[in-house]
Symmetry: C2
Subunit: 338 residues, 2 copies
DNA sequence: ATAAAAATCCAAAACGTTTCGGATTTTGTT
DNA sequence: AACAAAATCCGAAACGTTTTGGATTTTTAT
């Protein structure tokens, strides 16, 4: 493995000069620089990032901390798309990304800070962690720069990217209302997510603005789980037969509601309209295809990485990025659409 | 940031002793070891992996090299599940994983070896690269340990994990034959994948063993693309109306064939049976649900990581792992199943 | 021709760890 | 008590880079 020392010897200069030549400093003669570059190429040199990181005290590596990346969690590929986006930006600016998977067992033995410092990441992106996750507290207190996805916490060292979940939910519900629905139920996610809170708010705002009453009993907790949402939908539909539409805080839960409808023999969308949230791949492949509020998850990852690296390099204007959502109308709300 | 030097000072011993105490060497008194550990904990010490990697000449990091991780490639989450598996094993044995995304533009500027050496990975896993990828050649020639997924190349430093694709395809086709189908078409993937070759072989073997003729013209190239498969299916079904079943080398292509059937007004499975390969998430959500040959992609990633790390630590018995596949019978081949 | 300025180079220290070879102390044996 | 053996410790070098602060050479201005 060739080092700058080898190059220095071959070129008859000091290692200082090699380093400075390769790093584009101006205090090295252009002719010697060319010679050094030539020799480096010949010797098939590649710099040792460990050594560099050691002396520069940064690794040009960021950590992506996801929660519960298991065999099962692969169904909703939210995590994956975010990851792809992060990876995209990171590789554009020549950083590396290392993936941390936080399982509850692991967390007990190693703190967030330890994890980050040990792997020498310059900063971290956190995705999919719940607001009651012990890591979250630590993040805010630690001095390691980090960007949260869908958790609105901001400090000197932490920023976040999210979408406007209130508006997104509102758009979904307004769509249902515009179709004539007056008795709309909502399946929300668990309470340990900010998005649940906000989507509920959007739901309420839409009703209010349309002059419709809000009923606590028309909101159920589906815990972001397909089966759980199915059960809740069955319960609601039997207890409250006046319901003609469901707004679900995730597509996965909407799938559960679709199953419930099928079980109860309700035709979609004629007898029951359903709209989800996220626009996961599955959404466009179900029968009928699912209307939803699309989040650009790839963009969320991309922007998170961009924000983090801007923060690292001290050129972030603000520490918050809010992305747009888009209403996708498919046949689970409107017959013969598309 | 505390270092072993700080600990040494606080404990009144040399840095050598601190290092050896923390690393469990036997030539340090148990009492002083406890003291050192205690102090390390107090000072909130975490070792600098860069420094360690520098002197030990290994990083305990492996690279996962995937091809074309873009916004679009997210549909078939093969890559993601493999990644999850890799991540799982890697974190079990306290390694790190860094993700490399090889786009064609990047490849021109940096060779595989450069990529790996620069990031100081100890070894690499390659997934989703085509057999004509310039990287592949390099891998075999380089001395960096690596594990390929679904590409059967073996050498002193390279191993692979795969499934038995011949057998898998055979099982699928035998299933169709057992249902009485005699005119079975195949939509294969592009020729730049070993799996295409092998699945074709399985297709032929199944026909042969059943005493059925093999017709070249019943095999089309769907290039692993949904749209392309749809076009080819339409073409085949109109040119060869005797076809009653399709075997597709990927689920994504099977989705294309389902669309084609829908367009041509053919009922599935009564008039046309369809079986895919992979068992992607979508497969169980389509109408009708898609029969397929399931590959445990998570396990593939897990085993790949395991094999690689065994190779790195010199305790790999063999450098090949072949996993099992499973026939999943759903309603695209058998009515009212499940 | 000479002084000042600019261009070009380099030795040495530093980053935080591991490890080699040996030094010192303690324990065991006779 | 004396010596050997075992246990415990440590100094210094090494890993490959960047950077500081100056040294040397060349160019420019007078």
């Amino acid at each position: 493995m060739t080092t700058i020392k080898d190059i220095a010897k071959a070129a008859g200069v000091s290692i200082t000069t090699v380093s400075r030549a390769l790093n584009g400093y101006s205090d090295v003669n252009e002719k010697t620089r060319q010679k050094i570059i030539e020799i480096a190429k010949q010797l098939n040199y590649s710099p040792n990032t460990l050594a560099r990181g050691l002396v520069m005290n940064k690794s040009k590596t960021i950590g992506l901390l996801v929660s519960g990346l298991t065999r099962e969690s692969t169904k909703d590929n939210f995590t994956f798309e975010v990851l792809a986006g992060v990876n995209q930006y990171v590789s554009e600016v020549d950083y590396d990304m290392v993936l941390f998977n936080t399982t509850s067992t692991k967390q007990r033995e190693k703190t967030y800070t330890q994890l980050c410092r040990e792997r020498r990441v310059d900063g971290a992106i956190l995705q999919g962690i719940r607001v009651d996750d012990p890591y979250l507290q630590e993040v805010v207190e630690s001095d390691i720069p980090c960007v949260l996805i869908d958790i609105p916490i901001e400090s000197e060292t932490v920023g976040y990217v999210t979408t406007d979940n209130v508006l997104g939910a509102k758009k979904a519900v307004q769509h249902l209302i515009s179709l004539g629905h007056r008795h709309i139920a909502m399946i929300n996610g668990y309470e340990f997510a900010f998005v649940s809170e906000q989507r509920l708010k959007g739901f309420q705002e839409a009703l209010l603005e349309a002059g419709l009453p809000f009923h606590e009993h028309l909101v159920a907790n589906g815990a972001f789980k397909e089966e759980r949402a199915e059960q809740e939908a069955v319960r609601l539909l039997t207890q409250r037969p006046e319901i003609t539409a469901f707004f679900c805080a995730s597509d996965l839960m909407a799938l559960g509601v679709m199953k419930a409808a099928k079980t109860l023999g309700k035709r979609i969308p004629e007898e029951l309209a359903i709209i989800g949230y996220d626009d996961i791949i599955l959404a466009s492949y179900t029968t009928p295809p699912l209307s939803t509020i699309a989040q650009n998850k790839f963009a969320m990852g991309y922007e998170a990485a961009k924000l983090l690296i801007e923060m690292l390099e001290g050129k972030a204007q603000s520490r918050v990025r809010v992305l747009e959502t888009e209403l996708k109308i498919r046949e689970s709300t409107v017959k013969n659409h598309g």
